[in-house]
Amino acid sequence: MTLRPRAVVYAFAALGLVLLTVLAFATGRFPLSFAELGALAANKLFGAGYALPPSAETVVLQVRGPRIIAALLVGAALAAAGTAYQGMFRNPLVSPDILGVSAGAALGAVLGIFFSQSVLVIQLGAFAGGLAAVAVVTAVGASVRRHDPILALILAGIVIGTLFGSAIGLLKYLADPYNQLPAITFWLLGSLAAVAPRDLAFALPFALAGLVPLFLLRWRMNLLSLSDDEARALGVPVTRLRIAVVCAATLMTAAAVAISGIIGWVGLLIPHAARLLVGPEFSRLLPLSMLLGAAFLLAVDTLSRTIAPIEVPPGVLTALIGTPFFLWLFATARRSWQ
């Protein structure tokens, strides 16, 4: 448990991420060799001449580029938010949608689809819905006195999430089964297939606005894993710190959900795996969690567009990979939290 093994873990994660990214650029319906990718990079970076068909450039820059960046961004954001929520709720089984972000975002997006709005409005609806859900949940949690504040938050999250879930169910029932219902289903399962550079420009500022406070509070976050009385006695304004972290993690999750739809498991699984590798100390955990989250979602998304003639929704793949992995963690590795 000295510094060196940890450095090795970071180095491996970073190296793996770079290799995966190159691989993701190369594979797909229109395969590109590493030499072709290298020639293209040399041309774009240093102005070197090259002899590739223009379609190769389009594939790399217009199709795969935004999609790969989106996978990295969404994966890192969901993992970071999950890391923050798990530390804050002192529970490694918590995921970023514990406070109803996903349910709220889904309802916002489904409303947008139901009323046949543009993609931008649907994304804005997802984003606003996610924030609104968490705002309602925290307000309910704070108004329920005489209960453990964390339990109150989680119960409020479950109740509001269920309510939003019924609203989504109703909208699905009422939606036009030929146009809207497939769009809704597609969105609820999550996808990076339709990501455009504009989506990234929309989501990136919000994701960063969430990441910066988490990064700045990276050591202080550890204190939220103590009981409220302990943390207060150590001089931490617990309530304010918790609100700040909830806001930051929610911004990141909502930004991610707005561009990718709901992709489950990343925010639950990845922080957990990262904690097994470097321990629970948040300032070490956060960067590794983001690296692994980015790599995991990129791998999943690359699989989702290559393993079958049609795209497999990444949410289905994360669940297929996540469930056995999580059960294995659950059965074997108790060390990380007990």
Binding site: L216, L217, W219, N222, D229, E230, A233, G235, G279, R335
Partner: protein, 258 residues
């Protein structure tokens, strides 16, 4: 010796439900105050009030002569350390990391602990003789080891006044003795100690003063010899006890036959 913690006419509890009224209390440097009382007698409520976690309902509560509720939370943490009962560890922090958390009030909001904080944590770990546990994770420690780590965390805070909520609860016999020994040693170094316990015998072993709280709020305060008497224990706990002198101290011997 300087009065570190003082309550004058302190009322504690909740707005709708007073738990205790009119408590006068002084804790000086070098003193160990044992707080005894039955379950549900309000010890924890009193401690939370003394720590500034619950607002006082009446009277004055002074830390180093200054009203506690006028001192910033971080400043309180540098003077007053809290060792909770049975720290429930959820995550596998190492002892060193857990003790370092005691430095929170010395570390800037956006900063991580620096070399001075690491030194303070190391000193606290050494002071409790748990150097060999430093890289162990708190979730795998025994109850006694974890309690010592939590005391080390309070020392790392830089606090000279420590409040410990039942520090020997659910510890085996050897660990109870070890914790009591640490409390006495710290007092000899000039720390002021307040600890809750369910064992009146511990007051004779480790305390210089005793606060005995009966259910309903009746209290007795004084030296262990004055307060821990067969009569007082019968009134507060409703059981027969003999207080027997042995080797210059007293022990409490419950009488089991009616």
């Amino acid at each position: 010796m300087a009065v570190m913690l003082e309550a004058r006419g302190l009322g504690y509890g909740y707005p709708q439900r007073a738990v205790g009224r009119n408590l006068d209390l002084q804790v000086r440097a070098g003193e160990v105050l044992a707080v005894l009382g039955p379950n549900g007698g309000g010890k924890t409520t009193l401690f939370r009030t003394l720590l500034g976690l619950l607002p006082a309902q009446a009277g004055a509560l002074l830390l180093d002569g200054q009203a506690l509720d006028t001192i910033a939370r971080g400043e309180v943490a540098r003077r007053l350390g809290y060792v909770p009962q049975g720290h429930a560890a959820q995550f596998a922090f190492t002892v060193r990391e857990a003790v370092l958390m005691g430095r929170t009030s010395h570390v800037g909001l956006f900063a991580a602990p620096g070399a001075a904080d690491r030194d303070a944590a190391e000193r606290a770990i050494r002071a409790l003789g748990i150097g060999e546990l430093a890289e162990r994770v708190v979730t795998e420690l025994s109850g006694g080891e974890r309690q010592l780590a939590m005391i080390a965390r309070a020392l790392a805070q830089g606090a000279r006044l420590l409040i410990l909520d039942e520090p020997t609860a659910s510890l085996d016999f050897g660990n109870q003795v070890r914790v009591l020994r640490e409390l006495r040693r710290l007092a000899a170094e000039g720390y002021a100690i307040v600890f809750a316990t369910h064992d009146p015998g511990q007051a004779f072993l480790a305390a210089s003063r005793v606060l005995l709280i009966a259910r309903g709020g009746a209290r007795r305060q004084g030296t262990p010899e004055e307060v821990i008497t067969a009569e007082n224990l019968r009134q507060v706990y409703g059981v027969e006890v003999r207080v027997v002198p042995i080797d210059g101290t007293n022990v409490c011997l419950p009488v089991l036959t009616a």
